[in-house]
């Protein structure tokens, strides 16, 4: 309990620090706004995101439809609101998978060293020698696009990159005296890795995770745009852009509003990630 309270107070401190940077503050505000929108979802969306209204096809933005309608008369405003759920869910679960996988691999290889380290990191290098988007496209093309597939693939693509960061952080901490002490006490390797080492590499891991979260949005939106992500009729932002592409010149609202939504979220995440990096480097 005591511990938990201290943690909470620490978090508040960090958030306060981050909001001293103008970009950090803008980033956090926009992200919170989207999280609230995603949580409220159907409560604030005026229409069902998937209901067809054939009489209202391709309507320009108006009071009735603030972001206009698409070729089935679906309300773009509602689709953008509900779509925020898909992008946030996708990107955060993918980042979580990458973080768990990557930090475990980094901890094990960094701590054990030797042949395990050599072989596993070599393999990670090979995985990273494919461009991320291409690798994701290949896997999703083969196993068929799905929400689950997108999450897994993005998690897998970014795990080696997080593993690398975790490993080099471990190599640094490993030499410290308290690790030596734990070894002398006869603690098991698992205990040392997850109880002694892990809490001491949160800093670099946090920075990397925040950057990866931005990339995960970037990648999942791009896959959605290619039609290899979430499938219709689910309103995914990338998918909305794909559907709007053929009508760009005479129904531009169909593209503009989802594009602005994606842009605001990725830019906000990168603003925040930049502030976190500066904080970790002691520049804030």
């Amino acid at each position: 309990m005591e511990n938990l309270l201290r943690r909470a107070r620490n978090t508040v401190q960090v958030v306060k620090r981050l909001s001293h940077s103008r970009l950090g503050l803008i980033g956090m505000s926009i992200i919170s706004l989207w999280v609230i929108v995603a949580l409220l979802g159907p409560i604030i969306a005026p229409y069902s995101p998937t209901a067809y209204h054939p009489q209202d096809r391709f309507e320009a933005p108006s009071l009735k439809h603030p972001f206009g309608t698409d070729r089935y008369g679906r309300d773009t405003f509602s689709r953008v609101i509900i779509g925020s759920r898909s992008v946030l869910l996708l990107a955060s679960s993918a980042t979580l998978i990458a973080l768990i996988l990557g930090s475990s691999i980094g901890l094990i290889t960094g701590f054990l060293g030797g042949i395990v380290d050599e072989v596993v990191m070599r393999f990670m290098d090979i995985l990273m020698s494919f461009p991320a988007l291409l690798f994701a496209m290949l896997i999703l093309g083969i196993f068929g696009p799905s929400t689950f597939g997108v999450i897994t693939v993005i998690g897998l693509v970014y795990a080696p990159r997080i593993a690398r960061v975790a490993r080099s952080a471990v190599l640094e901490v490993k030499e410290k005296e308290f690790i030596e002490a734990a070894k002398v006490r006869g603690e098991s390797n698992l205990y040392i890795m997850f109880v002694e080492l892990l809490p001491n590499i949160w800093g670099p891991l946090g920075v990397e995770a925040s950057v990866r979260f931005g990339y995960a949005i970037f990648l999942s939106a791009s896959l959605g745009f290619l039609g290899l992500g979430v499938q219709p009729p689910t309103p995914d932002w990338g998918l909305l852009m794909k559907e709007a592409q053929s009508y760009m010149s005479w129904a531009p609202w169909m593209s503009i509003f989802p594009a602005l939504a994606i842009a605001s979220l990725v830019v906000a995440v990168n603003f925040l990630a930049d502030a976190i990096r500066k904080y970790e480097a002691g520049e804030l």
């Binding site: 020698s129 494919f130 010149s249």
Partner: protein, 313 residues
């Protein structure tokens, strides 16, 4: 140096070999019957059998992998399934040329511009110029290409009508004569790297100007221009590596940009191949892009060792 180079080359060949196994295995577990796909669902069992035998599909995976690699090493990449009878090698060559043009043009556009912006921001650290350049390059590097491309298309093609919106061109067209069609894709594919490199340059210029040698240069009364020259010479060294290492990013970017602007390049070819489950085309195009990516990484390491005399292998 030769030892370092040969070690890196061997490493690259091994990586490429493992990559080829991964690609082959992935396409191997792809659901769907190739023979059925070619002949359609009304084909008789005998004709399917005959085609499978002709394509070598009745052989074991190991034999097929050997045959495939043997073909790749001899420049025979098979024929495309979705574009009947077209040889994959000629397709890759034609589309690769188009993509190469786009990538080279983008590099020519982005390198000087990002260096210029990064140097200005770095030398004027904390000024308004710095804030504007840093923030806009952070925005540029965050935006997915299909978003920035859509904005550019809306503004310059649909609203202002100064450039064409679509970049579809005839096969074998002279790329210089259709250059206006290429402007939007070139700018779009450059944006992410432009932002990234500009920020890297800024950071290394700031590092260099806080260094001891820069302070010494100022204190011993060197003219300002000379001090700046000292700083730049040292700051630009890591930048070359950053640029070479991230050119590989252009490959992923090209997939999106070529799809958005309907430009017939390698990136869109990979996309179409995956969509149509055209296995020979997928195998060859993914292997080729990985090879290019690895070569770029190797090049960046070599350039780095040439530039930094402290690193000797």
């Amino acid at each position: 140096m030769t030892k370092f180079l040969s070690k890196r080359l061997v490493n690259m060949v091994i990586t490429l070999f493992v990559a080829s196994i991964i690609i082959f295995t992935l396409t191997e577990i792809m659901p769907g019957d190739v023979a059925q796909m070619i002949l359609g669902q009304y084909a008789t069992e005998e004709s399917l059998e005959a085609l499978r035998a002709q394509l070598g599909l009745d052989q074991s995976p190991l034999v097929r992998y050997r045959d495939w690699i043997w073909g790749v090493l001899h420049g025979d990449l098979g024929t495309s399934l979705s574009m009947k009878g077209v040889s994959v090698a000629s397709l890759l060559l034609r589309r690769g040329r188009n993509s190469l043009f786009l990538a080279v043009a983008a590099t020519i556009f982005l390198v000087p511009l990002s260096l210029f912006l990064g140097v200005i921001a770095g030398l004027k650290e904390g000024s308004w110029w710095d804030h504007i350049i840093s923030t806009s390059s952070l925005i540029a590097l965050s935006l997915p290409s299909f978003i920035s491309g859509t904005f550019l298309m809306m503004i310059f093609a649909i609203w202002l009508k100064v450039v064409p919106a679509m970049s579809s061109i005839e096969p074998g067209a002279n790329l210089f004569s259709v250059f206006p069609k290429l402007i939007l894709p070139i700018v779009t594919v450059s944006l992410v790297l432009l932002g990234y490199v500009a920020r890297m340059v800024r950071a290394s210029v700031i590092d260099a100007s806080h260094s001891d040698y820069a302070r010494t240069a100022v204190l011993k009364g060197l003219p300002q221009l000379k001090v700046v020259w000292h700083i730049l010479r040292n700051a630009l060294m890591p930048t070359v590596t950053v640029i070479a290492m991230n050119l590989g990013w252009l490959i992923g970017g090209l997939v999106i940009v070529e799809t958005l602007f309907a430009y017939p390049g390698l990136g869109r070819l990979v996309y179409v191949a995956i969509q149509r489950q055209d296995i020979p085309l997928i195998q060859a195009s993914v292997l080729l892009t990985s090879a290019v990516y690895l070569l770029l990484n190797l090049a960046s390491d070599v350039i780095y060792t040439f530039l930094d005399p402290r690193i000797r292998y």
